[in-house]
């Protein structure tokens, strides 16, 4: 009976040893046959590892431990499989983007630069993106926050509130190109507005609003009810209570949510393609004429498909990533600044 507790367990070095063995065998097979490339070898090594481990563990440790090890390996590999694309993507954007990324790139437009020649820059697109996203934020933030206030402070599960809530949820899943289509059909086809940076802003507004409503709602919900009651008990009217007590308490989280929505729409391409024309020149007026943006700049450079324009596309991608990181970083800082001091 005393052997009951003792399982035959494979030693700790087993996994490392088997991994070496698998890689060695994979390299050997690669040399003798024509499975090629680092991807092929890696895949082969992983499959070998899984098969050997399962077989070995099954004979020594039994079925249950073999299955346990098999799934542990699969779960670890799924994380690697998820992280690998991101790692290569970051590496590629930095590695290929840095070639063209300089002060000249940031301070010049593409005006009279031939697509096949190096040079030119992203200034006109950076300006366009900042203006378009800025206008979108100015429109989306008040509507989004006020809607969230209605949902949390006034509606309290009323029928209208439920409908708004449902549509806001569904709206978060609307493809961005549909937002572009909507602005095009409603404002350009129906009301005769021209394609412009402002039309692009409106399509971004559609994408931002649900994110802001949701983020604000979450933040307002966690404001303690006693705070509201304390203020109301002092005879302060409800609207002043909301504006002076509730909103300031939640403001850190709300601003963070706004920044995250800004970061999300700053990289949107599809709606801009429908609502504004591409431009190679600086246009600081979002209400008239074609206006560039960073995502459409990248799109344009990829479409030109010359070595010089692809370099510019990667530099544009690096610019866009940096811009988004600035938005995220700001969001983090704001969140930390307003975080409850405990």
């Amino acid at each position: 009976m005393s052997t009951q507790l003792r399982g035959s367990i494979l030693p700790k070095w087993f996994a490392a040893a088997l991994a070496m063995l698998s890689i060695g065998a994979a390299l050997l097979i690669e040399n003798t046959t024509n499975v090629s490339g680092i991807g092929g070898t890696t895949a082969l090594a992983v499959v070998l590892y899984l098969v050997l481990q399962t077989a070995w563990s099954f004979t020594v440790e039994g079925r249950r431990h073999a299955v346990d090890r098999l799934f542990a390996t699969l779960i670890y590999s799924s994380f690697v499989a998820a992280a690998l694309p991101l790692a290569t993507l970051i590496w590629q954007v930095v590695h290929k983007g840095i070639a063209q990324f300089n002060a000249n790139f940031l301070s010049h437009s593409m005006r009279s630069v031939s697509p096949s020649k190096p040079g030119g820059g992203i200034y006109h697109a950076l300006l366009g993106t900042l203006e378009q996203v800025g206008i979108a934020t100015l429109i989306a933030v008040p509507i989004g926050i006020l809607t969230a206030i209605y949902l949390v402070e006034y509606s309290r599960g009323g029928r209208l509130g439920k409908w708004i809530s449902f549509f806001v949820d569904v709206m978060t899943g609307v493809p961005s190109i549909v937002a572009g289509l909507f602005i095009y059909t409603a404002f350009i086809l129906t009301f005769g507005m021209e394609r412009s940076g402002f039309a692009a802003s409106l399509s971004l507004t559609i994408l931002m609003m649900p994110v802001i409503v949701r983020a604000t709602e979450e933040m307002l919900k966690i404001v303690p009810a006693d705070l509201r009651e304390a203020s109301l008990a002092l005879g302060i009217p409800q609207w002043k209570t909301i504006l002076r007590i509730v909103l300031p308490t939640a403001i850190g989280g709300i601003i963070t949510g706004v920044m995250l929505s800004v970061a999300r729409v700053a990289g949107e391409t599809a709606p801009l393609l429908l609502t504004t024309f591409l431009s190679q020149s600086i246009n600081s007026n979002p209400f008239a004429g074609p206006q560039a943006a960073i995502p459409t700049f990248i799109w344009d450079q990829i479409s030109s498909a010359t070595p010089a324009s692809l370099d510019r596309a990667w530099a544009g991608a690096l610019t866009l990533i940096l811009l988004i990181m600035i938005f995220y970083g700001t969001a983090k800082l704001i969140a930390r600044y307003y975080a409850p001091k405990a």
Partner: protein, 321 residues
């Protein structure tokens, strides 16, 4: 409608206070109604502007795969678009759902607690990468690296028609688009699954372990059954995103209007990519036809997202009880 705290007070307080409350309340209701109106008008405007193309179409909109809406006798339909959209999304789901669940399990139950937070942050970063950059990366980096895989599938699994490649070209295919989509929807699936896995009651996990379950048996006994509704709605939300993704797919596919089951051959097209690619060259009827295809996409994603939200909402009721 408002049984809020202002009512009992209104009889005592001055009318100025009451007016302030009423005005503010009206402003917030107005914002809410504006959002509601915007959302419902998406469907209305798209339908309205799509209708003209239907009357000019000399073919069946749903079964035709050609796309010549600006000819003197317009012929166009969404068969090829629908096929490409669903195949690309299906490939994405097959790859991303198990990987996303695996990643979520890794972060919640397998990784050392100290690094799990950093790992979760790393995966969430994927969600912050704009689709244009995924497209650029897919075109310039992934596509050359995927050729070997596609060729291997053709060579050893080519007897299955979908893996067969008759062209010796392995680029610009639905397969590659599907892989890029998988990477793009993975953070969505992983983040929501992670959230539900974290909510699995500690005492269920311990009950399983105390019965002598291995770690995987514990996951199967306590974690996965509890997380199933969350996994399903996470997958549906991922599916919604995959169906509607535009730019990355538009950059990768070489748009072709035919139904081709050989997924590693160049070709394929999706609703969203087609709109982006054809928009600036379309005439009046062409625009209307594109809007019609956009309406179909809108309705499909609406249905998928509503189902996902419905499952989440039901789950909220359940755990609240």
């Amino acid at each position: 409608m408002n049984q809020g705290l202002s009512d009992p007070r209104s009889s005592i307080s001055g009318s100025a206070v009451r007016r302030g409350d009423q005005i503010f309340r009206l402003i917030t209701v107005g914002s809410g109604i504006l959002i509601l109106a915007l959302m419902t008008s998406i469907g209305i405007f798209l339908t309205w502007k799509a209708i003209p193309s239907f009357s000019h179409n000399s073919s069946n909109f749903f079964t035709e795969s050609k796309w010549f809406p600006d000819q003197s006798t317009p012929i166009f339909g969404i068969a090829a678009l629908a096929f490409g959209t669903f195949v690309a999304a299906l490939i994405a789901m097959i790859l991303a759902v198990p990987t996303g669940i695996g990643t979520a399990l890794f972060i919640t139950y397998y990784a050392p607690k100290k690094i799990a937070g950093a790992m979760a942050f790393f995966i969430d970063l994927l969600a912050a990468v704009p689709s244009i950059i995924f497209g650029l990366w897919g075109l310039q980096f992934l596509m050359p690296h995927m050729q070997g895989v596609a060729a291997w599938l053709d060579r050893y699994l080519g007897f299955i028609p979908i893996f067969q490649n008759r062209s010796d070209l392995y680029t610009k295919s639905l397969l590659i688009a599907g892989v890029v989509l998988a990477i793009m929807i993975l953070p969505t699936i992983s983040a929501i699954s992670r959230e539900v896995f974290n909510q699995v009651p500690r005492n269920h996990v311990e009950a399983a372990l105390a019965l002598g379950a291995t770690r995987w048996e514990m996951v199967r006994m306590a974690v996965l059954p509890f997380g199933r509704p969350g996994i399903i709605s996470a997958s549906m939300l991922g599916l919604g995103r995959a169906l509607g993704e535009t730019i990355a797919v538009a950059l990768i596919l070489s748009a072709v209007f035919e139904v081709n089951i050989h997924i590693s051959e160049p070709g394929g097209n999706t609703f969203a990519a087609n709109i982006a690619l054809k928009w600036n060259e379309a005439g009046p009827n062409g625009l209307s036809a594109l809007i019609a295809s956009g309406l179909v996409l809108f309705l499909i994603t609406l249905a998928v997202n509503s189902i996902a939200r419905g499952i989440i909402a039901r789950r909220k009721d359940f755990s609240g009880a």
